[in-house]
Amino acid sequence: MFEIFGIPSQALFGQLLIGLINGSFYALLSLGLAVIFGMLNIINFSHGAQYMMGAFAAYLILLYTGLGYWPALIIAPVLVGITGIIVERLFLQWLYKLDHLYGLLLTFGLALIFEGVARNYFGSAGLPYTVPESLQGGRNLGFMFLPNYRAWVIAASLGVCIATWFVIERTRLGAYLRAATENPTLVRAFGINVPRMITLTYGFGVALAAFAGVMAAPIYNVSPQMGSELIIVVFAVVVIGGMGSILGAIITGFGLGVIEGLTKVFFPEASNTVIFVIMAIVLLVRPAGLFGRRA
């Protein structure tokens, strides 16, 4: 063990690790928000609730079918993604012609419904979800102890983020998506089914949130309100990064997680608020956001 700025390395790197974990969730969620906003022009306020639904889906899958973490990591996002598709078809599709604000209000209402139902059936206390056996334990890196599961979360979310970036920026499907974001009418004229693409995009964004939720389940407890506070921080992350760039969302997410972790070491009182303070500073210095394009 050694010390850096009078802080034991174990504490410093421990918080740095927590920062990276939080950053993974910020990145995954802000990425989903950006993808949804790009296609639907709606800020998905229920994103936090859908993240919570992912965690609960994993919990319920284990409870009723006995299927563990690894199957849940695939099944839960698919199930929650399907509910997203239903939501889009039932509600959101009627809002595209209206002001953005109505999308925010409607998804806020949905978030209240999801959270309220979860609280009714599961109470406000957290439910435990154990780390899968294959990822239990950890290794000593000399300067810190690294739990295997946490290393996996960081690697997996980084992988999913990069894969999403690759699909959107480098493939034919992604090219359609980007074109439909710019000019849906023209893309439809080329014979591409844009409404279906919008529906699937929403389903995908929601599935991404649920995926984050499953990964979060063993780290935080599974609880109905796990999403609502997280989503507000993610909004701040989105304001800081700007939603114009996929890569920007990923970098901002991880970066802010790390900064938050470091704040916990050096100035713990401010760790809850540091992201909001950074948001205020960014608004003063670069109103369009770090990666944003001026509207």
Binding site: F37, I43, F91, W94, L95, L98, D99, H100, L101, Y102, L104, L105, L106, F108, G109, L110, A111, L112, I113, F114, E115, G116, V117, R119, N120, S228, E229, I232, V233, F235, A236, V238, V239, E269, N272, T273, F276, V277, M279, A280, L283, L284, P287, A288, A295
Partner: protein, 323 residues
């Protein structure tokens, strides 16, 4: 945003407009004078505070087209400062309310000047994030009492003379504050300043091209809205003798949006009706616990999909009058 089309815009006599608003106003005053003899004054006072809060919020969303998702900040912090001033400094209630209001005005100036730097949806996210930041400050600060809040706030003597312990006396004071706030908002909306706000709502670029410094107008409207929300919060702290984290947390911001949406965005009486509807609902449904959250969510969804004009907006539209 889909606007409620003004049925009188097509050159009908403006007398009808002033008449329908005057009649509506008289009905409201009459109802509020009779009500304390029919139902609980304490509930009515609370409802009037929330009605003023919703009216203040509506000034932004309804007349400038700005959706603030963080109005709990002004309501809650005004409530804390008013409670603290009355309890720890021993100020008289009117000075305590002024202290709270001034706090809200300063918060509004700072938050507003940050939030108007971005448009549309970002504006809403910024106001929400700033409100959450101030929630954490309230949670950590010593003087707010953390989870306990500030309890047993003395109502004191108005101007050092009139004892407010009696609910009926307090009721008259709250009614006066509510009507003054309501009248002030009505005056703002129908002033030349208010006309510029509506022009910004309809088409900001055009307002800019006509030479209006729209940022200044938006900031001014934001500060006014925050200040009036502060009046509501500060009064509420004196009436209920309590300031707590509930007032400053994000669900409160959502609740005021819901009240205004139910009553009717951009209508003068809508927020008042909405506040009463939502509070009565919460009061009646309190026994079923968490389902209230679900019902609120359902109302949000229903309002946005089917019922965008709200109660008052629908009535005004049916009768082809302005309310």
């Amino acid at each position: 945003m889909e606007r409620v089309v003004d049925p009188l815009a097509a050159g009908k006599p403006s007398a009808l407009r002033t008449q329908s608003e005057t009649i509506g106003f008289l009905i409201m005053v009459a109802a509020l004078v009779i009500a304390p003899f029919v139902t609980y004054p304490l509930f009515l006072m609370q409802a009037m505070c929330f009605a003023l809060f919703a009216c203040a919020f509506n000034l932004l969303i309804g007349y400038v087209g700005l959706l603030s998702f963080g109005h709990a900040l002004y309501f809650g912090w005004a409530s804390y400062l008013s409670a603290y001033a009355a309890k720890s400094w021993g100020l008289t209630p009117e000075l305590a309310i002024l202290t709270g209001t001034a706090t809200a005005a300063v918060c509004g100036l700072v938050a507003g000047s940050l939030a108007i730097r971005r448009q549309g949806i970002y504006f809403s996210m910024i106001t929400l994030a700033l409100a959450q930041m101030m929630f954490f400050f309230a949670l950590q600060a010593k003087f707010t009492g953390g989870e306990d809040g500030i309890q047993a706030v003395p109502r004191g003597h108005l101007f050092g003379l009139i004892d407010l312990k009696n609910d009926m006396v307090m009721y008259v004071v709250v009614l006066a504050i509510f009507l003054a706030g309501f009248g002030f908002i009505h005056r703002i909306i129908h002033s030349p300043f208010g006309e510029v706000l509506k022009a910004i709502r309809e088409n900001e670029s055009r307002a800019i091209s006509l030479g209006y410094k729209t940022d200044r107008y938006k900031l001014m409207a934001f500060v006014l809205s925050a200040t009036l929300a502060g009046v509501a919060g500060a009064t509420k702290a004196i009436v209920l003798q309590l300031a707590s984290l509930t007032d400053v947390n994000w669900p409160m911001s959502g609740e005021v949006v819901l009240m205004t949406l139910v009553g009717g965005l951009g209508t003068i009486f809508g927020p008042v009706v909405g506040a009463f509807v939502i509070l009565v609902m919460q009061f009646k449904l309190a026994p079923i616990g968490e389902w209230v959250l679900v019902i609120q969510g359902v109302i949000f969804v229903a309002c946005v999909l089917l019922f965008r004009r709200g109660v008052v907006g629908e009535i005004a539209n049916k009768l082809r009058i302005r309310l």
